[in-house]
Subunit: 120 residues, 2 copies
DNA sequence: TGAACACATGAACAGATATTCATATATTAA
DNA sequence: TTAATATATGAATATCTGTTCATGTGTTCA
C-alpha cells in the first residue's frame, strides 16, 4: 500500500536536528500498528452501539439484533470483531450465546473521547 | 448501507424486558455516530504515527514526511483529517507550516489503548 | 429422529478510505 | 518579475470494510 520509493519532499529535511531526536524517541512500529488496529474497532457505529448495550447488560445475539434493528448476521460478524479484539467475552446456554464486556478500559476511553467531542 | 427492511431474527425478541430497558438508556444516535467518527481518526497507522511525532515536538509538514518516510502529499492529506477532528492546530511562518497537538485527551486515550494491548 | 431455532461463517457486493499523481496556491529570494 | 520551494488539494485507483445472502453447525423439543 505504501510506495517506499515515492519521491519525498523536494529538498532535504528542514529541521534535521529535531527530526533526528524525534525519530530516536518514536515507539516501535509494531506498537503503533497495534494501537491503530485497536482503535479501528471503535471506528464503526455498529460496534460502538453494541458496546454501549453491553455496558448496561449481558445480552444474547438475537436481543442485540432486535435492539439495534439490524440483522442477526451483521451483529454476529461484528461480535466476532469485538471478540478478536478481546473486548467482549461470551457464555453459551443451550442455543443462546450471551455476550458481555471483557475490558475495563473501554468505558474510560469512551468517556475521554466524548469529552473531546463536547469540547470541539 | 443499511437495509432497514432486512429480516431480523426469525422469532420475536428473547428477553423483551431487558431489551426494553437497555433501549431506554441508550445514548442518542448522533452521539454514538460522532464517537465512532472520532475513533475512526485513530484507526490508521499513519495518523497514529503523526500524532506520536507531535507528542514530542511541533513540526512542519516536510519534516514529518521525512521522519515517517512518506510523501509530502500523503502527510498533508492526513494532517487535514487530524485538523478537521480538532486534534492538531498549525501556525504559518513564511512558506513553512508548523503543526502541533490541539487536544489534551489524546495522550490519555492512547495510554488506555496501550494498556489494553498489553493485557490482551 | 426430525423440525425448529440461535448463532456462525464464507462469498459477493457496495461503499469507504489511503495513497499517488498532477497541479494549484502562496511565499521567498534572486 | 521569475524561479524555487512548502504546502494544499482534486481526481484516480487500489485496497479495505460492513452488510447481505445463503448456508452450515449445534442445541432443544416434540
Amino acid at each position: 500500500m505504501k510506495d517506499q520509493n515515492a519521491p519525498r519532499c523536494d529538498t532535504t529535511v528542514i529541521h534535521g536536528d529535531i527530526v533526528a531526536e524525534v525519530r530516536e524517541n518514536m515507539p516501535p512500529e509494531e506498537q503503533l500498528f497495534n494501537l491503530a488496529e485497536f482503535f479501528k474497532v471503535f471506528g464503526d457505529t455498529t460496534r460502538i452501539r453494541i458496546l454501549y448495550t453491553l455496558f448496561q447488560s449481558e445480552m444474547c445475539v438475537c436481543d442485540i439484533a432486535h435492539l439495534l434493528d439490524m440483522s442477526q448476521s451483521a451483529i454476529s460478524h461484528q461480535l466476532r470483531v469485538l471478540k478478536n479484539a478481546k473486548l467482549v467475552k461470551f457464555r453459551k446456554k443451550g442455543r443462546v450465546v450471551y455476550y458481555s464486556l471483557d475490558d475495563d478500559h473501554v468505558k474510560a476511553i469512551f468517556d475521554q473521547g466524548y469529552q473531546h467531542i463536547l469540547e470541539s
